[in-house]
Subunit: 197 residues, 2 copies
DNA sequence: CGGATTTCTTAGCGTTTGTTAACGAATTGC
DNA sequence: GCAATTCGTTAACAAACGCTAAGAAATCCG
């Protein structure tokens, strides 16, 4: 089964007839390291399923500093929800951290499928609900836990890919702290674990 | 037009026939000050539209401390998305800050309408997307701005109801700082505005 | 209206974080 | 493979925050 069809299948089943129009709009796309799929300030009317590789979502602040807030790996659907829905320029960029392979399609195509096939409308609802639950959990964690507790929570979570494959400075940003601070948090941990005696 | 129908109408139009089954499932509900609509640890299978009053959404931590993360006012739809979608106990409580009037209905009814009327399915998608954009913006603000900057952003925003009608300790929690800290931030502001000469 | 509760502010102290800078290690890319 | 870049850690200092406590102000409610 096509990876995108498999992705959708986790939410709703698609018949051949339902899958065909989406399949017809797909395009393969490769990104080199540091190449961008979405660029801050530009409209981003395409969605992409990551086939292989890893990307980061980041904001460039007025002072030029970058803040990374999310990561995408294999079988993650990525894009600027905000830009696709509103048509406005994207407020963030998405950049490949390593050479990355994508299947892309225009959001406009998905919107047309929402109108034509009830099963896609349902997929759209379930997808938005799924992301809403994830974003809510993340928001709650930021409001409820300290930076150190957030790092512990990440260690205990199943998001091991983030810790294994992402440079620590970006993980720090994801946790809402500076790289220096995360380094200190880790140092505190080690001196406690392998502490006196 | 019924307030709930007007709420839905901001997303999709409803015919009389489509509105009728939802209208049949509605119940009026009053909350006294500090009374809870959703209780942490219990299933919360109902949604509610606030007709008048104000509520806060808060988490009670293991140590007994409360953290308020959201507010609801007139014409806000509230409930535990997570509990409704998963059937699990709610991870937070929702409590009236002042005497509050609600119209409530079971989420199960909405789920049935998703199946029976495409217009409700679309409403469900648009509603989830709308909330996702809001939650994403909030998450971004927490990751990009300092506590002081977040307070400034709230001052400049159109969420004036929060500042006008919510006790400051809860606003502090919403911003991700302690009440003492918010008080200091405000004091710093005043001494800068009306500073030396 | 008036006592009781809740809320906001201020202060002092300890801890954590942010910032800048420097150094060594690891990775990248030609 | 080697030069160049990126990355992680540590240090030192200043600033901000969390915590506790106490008093003043505002609000609630009988």
């Amino acid at each position: 089964m096509h990876p995108l069809r498999a992705y959708i299948h986790r939410f709703v089943p698609l018949t051949e007839d339902e899958w065909a129009p989406l399949a017809a709009g797909l395009r393969m796309h490769q990104l080199g390291r540091k190449q961008e799929f979405v660029t801050q300030g530009q409209a981003a009317p395409e969605l992409a399923l990551v086939l292989a590789g890893a990307c980061r979502l980041y904001y460039t602040r007025p002072d030029g500093e970058e803040r990374t807030t999310y990561f995408f790996f294999e079988n993650h659907l990525m894009g600027s929800y905000q830009s696709c829905l509103t048509g406005q320029p994207s407020q963030f960029s998405i950049q490949a951290l390593v050479p990355t392979e994508l299947v892309t399609f225009p959001y406009a195509l998905l919107r047309r499928l929402f109108d034509e096939y009830p099963v896609y409308e349902r997929f759209g609802r379930l997808l938005a609900e799924y992301h809403l639950l994830g974003t809510d959990a993340r928001l709650t964690e930021l409001l409820l836990l300290s930076p150190e507790q957030r790092y512990h929570a990440l260690l205990r979570s199943h998001k091991t890919k983030i810790l294994e494959r992402i440079p620590q400075q970006y993980v720090a940003s994801y946790l809402g702290v500076t790289p220096v601070s995360l380094s200190r948090i880790r140092a505190r941990l080690l001196s406690n674990d392998a502490g006196p005696m």
